[in-house]
Amino acid sequence: QSVLTQPPSVSAAPGQKVSISCSGGTSNIGSNYVSWYQHLPGTAPKLVIYDNNKRPSGIPDRFNASKSGSSATLDISGLQTGDEAEYYCGAWDISLTAGVFGGGTLVTVL
């Protein structure tokens, strides 16, 4: 059971948008920044969003994110087949004094 809760899967057609939710609590998302990672099988995870809504260099602006209270959302617009991957949210938890991840959401392009 992950500390952060994500839906197991989302899907949409090419060109459409998907939204992935991440629900936590006051000790993690509610009091710290949220980050998002893209993980393709057989590769290392890749940071796509940090500090709630900032994109690292090289991440397209099709990836956007927001945070409200103890929840966060990652939006991927203009969906491409290359976006098919598992996506994880992450945050620091001040009660655990450790980082935590969500359980992951599989994005499928129909």
Binding site: N32, A98, F101
Partner: protein, 121 residues
């Protein structure tokens, strides 16, 4: 090139010990937290622990405290993840990763190693 390079795949028997490594290069290794993340087969990412190479300050997830230990050799720019007695549930892929902001323990991981597969059987 800024990178983290991990040691190769390992196969061990239950009860054996193991140490895997992660070498950083191309950046100021001592001043960025290094973390370890586990992925068991078919499962998600599990945050394990982080270490600050400059002074070996550590933080462990309660789920992993006492089950693994992390260390660092600053002179070799290398971090280690160590098990004293493996169990079959320790099988998985282990990634090392660098914290994005110097000195901040709660930084997201912006640089990842290629992963080390550990098989305990």
């Amino acid at each position: 090139e800024v990178q983290l390079v991990q040691s190769g795949a390992e196969v061990r028997k239950p009860g054996e010990s193991l140490k895997i490594s992660c070498r950083g290069s191309g950046y100021n290794f001592p001043n960025y937290w290094i973390g370890w993340v586990r992925q068991m087969s078919g499962k998600g990412l599990d945050w394990m622990a982080v270490i600050y190479p400059d002074d070996s300050d550590t933080r462990y997830s309660p789920s992993f405290q006492g089950r693994v230990s992390i260390s660092v050799d600053k002179s070799m720019s290398t971090a280690h993840l160590h098990w004293s007695s493996l169990t079959t549930s320790d099988s998985g892929i282990y990634y090392c990763a660098r914290g994005m902001s110097p000195t901040n323990v709660n930084s997201p991981f912006d640089l990842w190693g290629q992963g080390t597969m550990v098989t305990v059987s």
